[in-house]
Assembly symmetry: C2
Homo-oligomer: 187 residues x 2
DNA sequence: GTCTATAGAAGGATAGAC
DNA sequence: GTCTATCCTTCTATAGAC
C-alpha cells in the first residue's frame, strides 16, 4: 500500500469524523479503525492529534474555496455571485445534513492557547469576507444609498454566519433564504 | 457542610470550566477538585456528566436573562433597548475575555443525538429572538420603510450572533459597535 | 513505512464505610 | 450525604519487530 493512499485515507476519515462528531469526541483509535490503518502509521504522518487537526483545517480551506469557485462560475454579475454565496452555503448545509460550520465547530471546541488553530480559522473567515468586499465594490453602488459599502459587507457577512448557525440549530435553511431577499433590498 | 453549599460549589465550578475550557475538555475530576468536593458527592446531585450539563444550561438561561433585564432597565425607548442588546453582549464579552457565546460553544461541541441539549439551546436563542420581535413591534415603524419588521428582526439577530462570533475570533467588539450604527440606519 | 503489542495517564462511574 | 478506595474503559503516544 502506497504512502499517499494511507495519507488520503487518514485525511478523508478525519475530515468526516471531525465534522460529524467533533474533534474532541473523535479518538485516534476510531480514525485508524475506520481508515483501516494502524496507529504508528498515523503517527508516521502526523506527530500528534493536534498536528492532524491543522492538516484538516488546511484541507478544509482548499476544499471550501475550490467548491465555492466551481459553484459561482456559472453566475455572471456581482449581485448574482453574492446570492451564490448564500446558495453555496445552503447546498453545503443540505449535503452535510445541517451540521453547521466546520470552522465554528473547531473554534468553539478548542482552547484559546491553540494559537495556530485560531489563526487558521481567522484566516478562513477573513478571506471569505474579502470575497464579499470584492463583490460589493464591483456592484458600483451609488453614493446616496442607505448603507455604505462597508456596512453592506458587514450585513452580508453577518447574514451568512448567522444563517448557517440557525440552519445548524433548526435543520432548516429558511433564514439563509430570507437573507437573500434582505440583501437584495439593501444593495 | 450543607448540601446546598455543595451544590452551589458544583454549579459555580462547572459554570466557569464549561465556558472557559469547553464541556468535553472539562473532566469530572477537575470539577470535583476545584469545587473541593468528592466524586460521589457530585454523583449524588447529578446522575451523570450529561445531567450536569443540562443543569448548567438551565442556570445559564436564568443568569443571562436576569443580567439582560438588569442591564436594560435604565433604558426607556424601544430603540435604546435594542442598542442595549448590543451593549449587553459587548459588556459580557469583555467581562468573559472574548471567549464567545456559551450556547454556541455547547451546541458545536455536542453530537446531534443529544436532543435535550439542542432543545435547550434552541429555546434560549428563540426567546432572545422574541425579545427582539417585541422591541421592533414597539418601534411602531411606518409601513414604507425599506425593510419590513420581520426583516429588521432578522438583521438585528444576525448582527448580534455574528458580532459575538467575530468578537470571539478577533478579541474585539468592533463588529458589535458597527452593527449599532447599521441598525440605527435601518430602523 | 507499516505492523503488533503495550505503556502510562485520564476518562466517567460505583461499592461500601461512616 | 459525604467520604476513601477502586473499577473498567478509553485516551494519546511509543517501542521494537519486520
Amino acid at each position: 500500500m502506497k504512502p499517499v493512499v494511507v495519507l488520503d485515507k487518514i485525511m478523508e476519515t478525519a475530515d468526516r469524523l471531525f465534522y460529524e462528531q467533533g474533534f474532541n469526541l473523535t479518538g485516534i483509535n476510531q480514525i485508524i479503525e475506520e481508515a483501516g490503518i494502524s496507529k504508528p502509521s498515523l503517527y508516521n504522518h502526523f506527530k500528534s492529534k493536534n498536528d492532524l487537526l491543522l492538516a484538516y483545517l488546511d484541507r478544509q480551506y482548499a476544499i471550501w474555496f475550490a467548491g465555492l469557485d466551481t459553484f459561482s462560475e456559472s453566475y455572471d454579475t456581482p449581485l448574482e455571485k453574492i446570492m451564490a454565496l448564500f446558495d453555496f452555503r445552503i447546498s453545503r448545509q443540505i449535503a452535510r445534513e445541517y451540521k453547521g460550520c466546520a470552522w465554528n465547530k473547531i473554534v468553539n471546541e478548542v482552547p484559546r492557547h491553540e494559537v495556530q488553530v485560531f489563526e487558521n480559522v481567522a484566516k478562513f473567515k477573513n478571506d471569505m469576507r474579502m470575497r464579499i468586499v470584492d463583490l460589493v465594490v464591483r456592484l458600483n453602488r451609488p453614493k446616496n444609498k442607505l448603507l455604505t459599502d462597508e456596512e453592506l459587507v458587514q450585513v452580508i457577512y453577518a447574514e451568512l454566519e448567522s444563517g448557517v448557525m440557525v440552519a445548524h440549530l433548526t435543520k432548516s435553511h429558511t433564514a439563509l433564504e430570507n437573507a437573500k431577499n434582505i440583501i437584495r433590498k439593501l444593495v
